[in-house]
Amino acid sequence: MTVQPAMPKCWRPESKPHKFCPGCGHGLVLKALGEAIDELGIQDRVVFGCDIGCSLLSWDFFNVDSIQTHHGRTTPVMTGVKRANPDLICIAYMGDGGGYAIGSQHLVNAATRNEKITVLLALNTVYAMTGGQMAPTTMPNQKAETAPYGRDVEETGYPTQGPEMVAAIAREGAYVARGTTANLKQLKSYIKKALKNQMEGKGFSFVEALAACPTNWRTNAEKTWNFLQKDMPKYFKVGEKKVPGAEEKEGQ
């Protein structure tokens, strides 16, 4: 008899095994999220929104009410739900294309308005569902389908620093962090803090999670892990970027 690792309680067994590719980071991000929901005991109050792109494959991932939206539009849909019923805990789940390109205006303005929602963004440096095109977060010189000779920063700029941007525009009360699927315990703690921030009504919360895409990176297990654990964090620094109360402490 093989022993299976325990699934988070709020995962929906009927939709497992999940639909993501082998080695995909989404399953790990959603595991950290599932455990966070379980530990906070909020399965009955969570509304989970997922974007277009690979994240849409999570539309029936949890035993929580879920809405699959359009590319980039999960942030406004969750904003609309939260504004209409503030008792719900709204999680907008998306990739880096949805959050930093097509839906960037929604992310920026939700952060500016300090919407009491949690945005969870999986960053894998590519548009994965559509076949590996260059994303706002593609690393300098990294190859992608629309940057076959590598991303030329002179032509297409540097990768978006999402949490740094959100931390810069969000006001006191917001929680912003970047975690990684290479450190699930830490990622889960960030997600829990983000959700608590929403539950306490403090403000906007945003967690980016570095995630692997071996399918589009065209990498084997070793190279995948190296890119995720060594290369990505050189540019995308893991850690908390904004924590409520920190500004007050600084002033003392």
Binding site: R12, V47, D65, T79, G80, V81, K82, A84, H106
Partner: protein, 361 residues
């Protein structure tokens, strides 16, 4: 909820935008999501003044995409939510409204048409007919009321919330800049006092109980794995739409029985058309009047009947044939000749319509 805005019927003299805000409050709308664009702005202005007094909410979003998608979120949370837009804003609004179509969401949107294409004018047109009836990458699974005056703006805004929540198709009230900005007399009333039952909203998400434990989770999507899966879903939608169409389609008509020429118009243009037909009748001319109130669904049976009885249909609109296209699609194969009278982006007077009808009699 606080006291009612309208406790007894009364005559008022208001702009159309103010009428819409009053009607939305009277209809029990709970939250408006909006983004500024002329000529609908004052709907938001009046709503934001009324909302706190009657326990309603407002969110000014970053654009019309967001206004539409937050409205989608609002209805999924089980609230009567609405938005209002115009012109280029209506263009952006098509994306969220296609999601509403795909997921059968009872969104309500007020459209105050302005000139097009592009930025054009902020004043008036009937050029948002194609977009409002069949916009987005969909099949036009919408309900669209085209109003002609302020009383109708009030009546049909209330009705829009009711039909949206009853049939679960995105619903639009299609006005225009003239109706939005001009002042006119009307009677406002509390719909329940008139015996109009207000359909209660229901949440899609956040129902009582823990999903997977006490109840099934609500899993809502607009994406499908294979063609057949989508095909099946749409077949059910078309069936529901056809059934709804019989109950929802509305029109006004007079003097059509013996008419050689029937003047077909919609919205504010139908006011001129009505007067023109009345004048010509006094002169003994065999002219009739027909005006669909719903542009989606159209009163198809009545239109076909007319198109086989009259000699000519004079289609009058402030667009280059957008309304005519809808009509021609319905009456295809009928005997009447279609005569266009199109003035895109400008108003059309009684005199112009009467002259044109006279010319073709």
């Amino acid at each position: 909820m606080s006291e009612k805005l309208i406790t007894e019927e009364k005559r008022v003299f208001m702009t159309g935008n103010e009428v819409v805000a009053w009607a939305a409050v009277a209809a029990g709308a709970e939250i408006m999501y909006g983004y500024p664009i002329t000529p609908q702005n004052e709907i938001m202005h009046y709503w934001t003044r009324l909302a706190p007094k009657y326990n309603r909410k407002f969110l000014q979003t970053e654009d019309e995409l967001s206004a539409g998608f937050t409205t989608v979120g609002g209805v999924m949370a089980g609230r009567k939510a609405f938005t209002a837009t115009a012109g280029p804003g209506n263009t952006l609004m098509q994306e969220p409204m296609s999601m509403a179509e795909a997921m059968r969401l009872p969104t309500v949107a007020i459209i105050q048409q302005r000139g097009g294409p592009s930025t054009a004018t902020v004043i008036y047109s009937q050029q948002e007919v194609t977009m409002t009836t069949f916009g987005g990458n969909g099949e036009g699974l919408r309900i669209v009321y085209s109003t002609a005056n302020h009383q109708e703006l009030f009546d049909y805004t209330i009705k829009a919330f009711n039909v949206a929540w009853k049939y679960r198709f995105p619903t639009f009230v299609l006005g225009d800049g003239y109706q939005a900005k001009m002042r006119e007399s009307l009677t406002v009333y509390d719909p329940e006092q008139r015996g109009i039952e207000l359909v209660k909203p229901e949440p899609y998400v956040g129902k009582p109980g823990t999903p997977g434990v006490d109840r099934e989770p609500g899993h809502y999507r607009n994406t499908y794995n294979v063609e057949e899966e989508l095909y099946e879903v749409l077949q059910d939608y078309f069936k529901d739409y056809a059934k709804m169409a019989k109950e929802v389609a509305e029109y006004q008509a007079f003097d059509t029985e013996d008419a050689d020429v029937i003047v077909l118009s919609h919205g504010v243009v139908s006011r001129g058309a009505k007067e023109a037909v009345e004048q010509l009748r006094k002169e003994g001319k065999k002219v009739g009047y027909f005006r669909p109130i719903t542009l989606r669904p159209l009163p198809e049976d009545q239109l076909k009947e007319l198109a086989n009885k009259a000699k000519k249909l004079l289609i009058v609109e402030s667009a280059q044939g957008q309304f005519a296209k809808l009509i021609k699609d319905v009456i295809y194969g009928s005997s009447a000749e279609v005569v266009p009278f199109f003035k895109p982006g400008v108003g059309i007077t009684t005199e112009e319509i009467a002259a044109k009808a006279n010319e073709i009699l």
